[in-house]
Amino acid sequence: MALFRRHRAIAALALAAALATACGSPAQDTAKATGTQDSVDAALKAGGSITYWTWTPSAKAQVAAFEQEYPNVKVNLVNAGTGKDQYTKLQNAIKAGSGGPDVVQIEYQALPQFALPGSLVDLNQYGFGAFQKDYTASTWSSVTVGNALFGLPQDSGPMALFYNKEDFDKYGIAVPKTWDEYLDAAKKLHAADPTKFITSDTGDPGFTTSMIWQAGGHPFSTDGRNVKINLNDQGAQKWTKVWDQLVQGKLLSTVKGWSDDWYRELGDGTIATLVTGAWMPGVFKSSVTAGSGKWAVAPMPTYDGQPVSAENGGSAQSVLKQSSNPALAAAFVRWLNHGNGIKPFIASGGFPSTTADLNSPAFLNAADPYFGGQQVNQVLTAASGAVAKGWSYLPYQLYANTIFVDTVGKSYLDGTAIGGGLKAWQASLVDYGNQQGFTVSAG
């Protein structure tokens, strides 16, 4: 169902247009003030009102709980759109210099894009740097750019293998531990029942970057002004070697992720596995009711059998520079992701970033009836500790994602080597970055 897809394309264009000017001058935020939480506590006591943009479904319950705890603070909750739609508005508000929220949800992949031009508040000035030990290493590094801290992590998406146990049992397929075994499972399943596929993938930038991440690749690096892109590094090559065989062997379902067909195929066993973030159980339970009792979770397959994972999705809450009360906004962020806001978040099916919550016995040992009583958080929490280190996204990742379909997406469509598409993607990204005032080098 392509409802409104055209409009999203137009919105993406506008986003690119808005970015064209916004990204021109990465701000030199040299003041690395490390303050204390006193001003935040004072702002909380004084009260006031702030605006919070988010699309996360748990926000309503969280805001209600916060306002009950701090009756002198009013939080104006606004759902300004999911993902890209919200970023377009955020970028417009930043460009206009007003009209933005005080606190905003930003996905990890989009964070550098707003952090580097100096649109977000460095939370070190409120002493939030002290919270580092409370978060998983991967989420903390996702909100840190250079020495600055641009948000507190809320949900995280360490990747795991979600598989349809019914399919696997029926055709006597073993749960793959390595990508080679995954390939074999794909062939065996499709041979046994040609209507079934190991997974669906039509070319998705978030998935591709996460897979390169897991394979040990570091395709993007930046110090703010200089950007290096290498989408043909060892990690990328390792991943494309496996994935080329799946694409060219026509072993993947070609329904588009998150479409109505995709939800249907998850429910009826057509798609046998999903390699995705730890937030997926929430989606399964609310929207793939037909698959209840059939699915199970295993660690993500690896190249050498040693456990290693990557992050996929997940977001943080940040304070916008244009906020008129940044201390109060920071207080709200602290409550949300380092205080009482975490509980309602987990209750709504979210997967947290705080190690204490990830490792609490109640969380770890919860038997999930959707997954046939499996203690899925055992697998998922283990994944959160096994995320490969040193990853960073591009400072214009959102733009990169919009042109992914024209380059790598084409390789998928034509059944040619994904490496060729990655090369084309890289060339476009180098050109674009240089036009935007970055100094981009390839290789």
Binding site: F4, A11, G81, S287, T289, A290
Partner: protein, 285 residues
Amino acid sequence: MTSVLRPRRSRTLTAVMALYLLYTLIPLAWLVISATKTQPDLLSTPGLSFGGVFALFDNIGQTFTYDNGIFLRWLGNTLLYVVVGAGGATVLATAAGYGLAKYRFRGRQAVFAVVLGAIAVPGTALAVPTFLLFSRLGLIDTPLAVIIPSLISPFGLYLIWVYAVDAIPDEMMEAARIDGAGEIRIFLAVTLRQLAPGIVTVALFAVVATWNNYFLPLIMLSDPNWYPLTVGLNQWNAQAIGAAAQPVYHLVITGSVLTIIPLVIAFLFLQRFWQSGLAAGSVKQ
């Protein structure tokens, strides 16, 4: 016998028309049929067949109550934008088009060129500059940010202009002047009636454009409480994506059906005017 009044039937043309009819009706049929299904049925049955349960009324109920009944609010917003925006656009286009057609004044040619040029610029291209302009004025995230740009309809102005040139004889205006009527009175009492088919055509264009307006409100508004239906439905549609996804495809579809009903009704009622308006200027008298 074939004649001008009874043209010969063309099989090719009939076939082309039939194809076009299918092309137009099948998506509509899909939409209406899908609106009768529950979300699980929607995801498990083929598009053009009914689901196990007839859930149309249940879906309508849910559409109006989901997320604290925000759909009703969006419907109200759309009506506000249509009545004030499209209504205002029609009034302005009528007055200006008539004035340009019937009065000679300095700069008339320049206005003509500007209007023609304005028709050629797509609204989407102006959206970002308009946004920056409005943010200077502090109008972002208010209904005015959607209404004010909707008030301008160069195409409507041009249509009225062309229509007025033919529909209002200069002799009639002279007669009215001799009888002592002022220019305002001539406009309101004499010529408006003559212009009615043209006005209805312009109004319909403006209503459809405002009702379907998507991009402008998308970038102007961030508070869902001011969204029109188009942007609101897209927000529901986008909910199906990513971490914490909450697909409500059945509500998106039912909401879409509810959204097109008022337009269908408007067309059925105003059809007669619409047809005579379309033919405006096609025959030289």
